[in-house]
């Protein structure tokens, strides 16, 4: 015997709204969808025995990524973290530098800075985009840094602030217009962490193509996946060439000599993973349609829910809606954990946003600006099931 109960608490309303969109569940947060040539290309790759560090699928995947994003060059690598590491190195980040990264991000953004021997310097986000707040950052840099010989120096630490790495949270483009001006005015290299934003556009231009370089991720939880994988985007041919060199052990081409002319990395994307990526890239447009449709359905379902708002793409932006996110009103922040518990108990996988970087043990002593907005957001965001497969779209 089943009873129909009318949702009264916010937790119950959230569970009911999710259920009304995705069905009885269970539903994970994000799972990949393989509905195209994935089997065909993997089999072709295996049959060729060319599964490893070079191969036609790597070339094709890179060309496909460049074509899709409009970047002049794409260099496929083993994951998004590796892409960030190399992009930062090529942006000139060196030991004892500082790099501005949002406190509200996945840990890879901050980790990649440390791989260069540099220190992350955490900056605040804005509720509108969930990304770096350009205006607040400008004020902070104006009062806390000075230009010395064309470099931005942190007055408190005496260290050079070399780069700025905004991240497009859940696929929502950050305020690129504002940040490009800040980067220019304060002589910072702009590297976009576009790990979450394949298929997201700022004023019609693809994220990851505005800065000196941008980086993508194709981890299993991303819009498209290669198992593990990533890419560096750039419009600079020399940087692209150097990125390829650094990510392939810096070996100088030769028929048989093994000469490496700098410290390189084994960051090649295997051809096997690229084969999967080629098939996924073909599916990307229809996945993006499905994810936008899922947003619309959630939007309708959550409209009557007081206290929780579904994140929508910022103005002048086109988001990939990688992860759908609820933003609780400040007065409902104390109900976040109850909502997380209720939704997960009901079989709908949800999670809060990441713990702020400056609160993690390895980064507690890193410099940071006032993080009031990020702190507030980190208490109020909840991701809900977001797979494109939740909204089957006709091919």
């Amino acid at each position: 015997m089943s009873t129909v109960s009318i949702p009264t608490t916010l937790s119950e309303q959230v569970v009911a709204a999710i259920r009304s969109v995705v069905g009885a569940g269970p539903a994970v947060l994000h799972e990949p969808s393989f509905s195209g040539n994935e089997w065909l290309y993997l089999k072709e790759c295996l049959d060729s025995t060319v599964v490893s560090s070079v191969g036609k699928f790597v070339d094709r995947f890179e060309a496909g990524l460049a074509a899709f994003t409009g970047a002049k060059h794409a260099v496929a690598v083993v994951n998004g973290t590796a892409a960030l590491h190399i992009a930062l190195k090529l942006a000139g980040v060196r030991t004892s530098d500082e790099v501005l990264v949002p406190a509200l991000t996945f840990v890879a953004t901050a980790n990649a800075v440390t791989y260069c021997g540099a220190t992350p310097h955490f900056v605040d986000s804005e509720a509108r985009t969930l990304g770096v707040d350009a205006e607040k950052l400008r004020d902070y840099l104006a009062s806390h840094t000075e230009q010395r010989a064309g470099q931005c120096v942190n007055r408190a630490t005496g260290r050079i602030i070399r780069a700025l790495v905004p991240m497009h949270t859940f696929g929502h483009p950050v305020d690129l217009e504002g940040l490009l001006v800040v980067a220019h005015d304060f002589k910072l290299a702009l590297v976009e962490d576009a790990a979450e934003s394949l298929g997201s556009y700022f004023r019609g231009q693809h994220t990851g193509t505005f800065g000196l370089m941008g980086t993508l991720s194709f981890n299993g939880n991303k819009t498209i996946t290669t198992g593990g994988g990533g890419a560096i985007l750039t419009n600079d041919a020399e940087l692209a060439c150097h990125a390829k060199h650094l990510t392939t052990t810096a070996k100088v081409p030769h028929a048989w000599d093994y000469r490496h002319d700098e410290i390189g990395y084994n960051y090649r994307l295997p051809n096997l993973n690229a084969a999967l990526g080629c098939a996924q890239l073909e599916q990307l447009p229809s996945m993006l349609v499905a994810k936008r449709e899922l947003f619309q359905r959630y939007h309708a379902a959550f409209s009557p829910v007081m206290g929780a708002r579904l994140m929508a793409e910022p103005e002048q932006c086109h988001s990939n809606y990688w992860l759908q996110a609820l933003l609780l009103e400040p007065k409902c922040a104390d109900q976040r954990d109850a909502i997380l518990q209720a939704t997960n108990d009901a079989g709908f996988m949800t999670r809060p946003v990441w713990i702020l970087m400056n609160e993690l043990k390895p980064f507690v002593s890193c410099p940071h600006m006032d993080l009031a907005a990020a702190q507030s957001l980190s208490q109020r965001l909840i991701n809900i099931p977001s797979s494109s497969s939740l909204v089957p779209v006709a091919p």
Copy 2:
């Protein structure tokens, strides 16, 4: 009209000997062989949609590696370089340390040291094993280092020499008995670079299981491949657990919190690549039989060739014969390039051994001992086609 010419030069004799074993060619240096469940497991992985960072194939691959090598624990990672990086970190290698590595090795061994902020310190090899010369190393350390507070200090640089990383060249086990004593006497952590030696044994015990940790590679050119992949072997449960933690972004387990308690790495082996590895591991025993048979055939073919000797496994060792290698007599060293040219022209891919690490631009200023043997070997070694598929063995 074809003519039969009798080989007279050493180049011609080498080409003829290779042809007598592998047929008319062409033959690459090493290609993978997928004759088992590779497609089945890849398909199963794709059907499950679990292609990325966790999955049952990762668990199964790790268990299979531990079972095959006899190591208590195996941690699968994204490639052999990543395995070395983490093994060195866990061995306590820190910024400003030095690490002893052979000058005669692939660049990954030296690169991994630099990823820890440390400096490689190059040591000599012996012709018998192609690996680190234990006796010569002992003499060198005795005269160039001193023990301070239980640590080995390089007198010339004042830096701590933290670890020793022998590499089992082409699969031939290094003198582990001698090196274990040197490591013990001079207080060095022993980390075995077993990238090339899966299936190789020293006195019946698998390489990579003697030191504190050992590392494997499953790059496309290795005996078995996962596209790209590697593993850390250890008998220490705590080290294994820490290796898993560090290679999976150091995330503390929790239903939804993203808490990372130290600087971690995105070094996970994707489930997709592990699926390939599980199938390859099943094929490994028959591949090893094939590679040993290939050695026997080459051995017979090269016996009458004066001036070039086929590398055989050292005494008390069982080699996987990953790459077959010719060692030219010193008086024939000047014919190496002619042999490389003639064999490659004839369609048989051959290559010299790596350029010595101390001769590479990024490492020219690193400390090194006398490298007479490595220098001589580096002028005289030639790898010849070595794929297990060259000797089809009944399953």
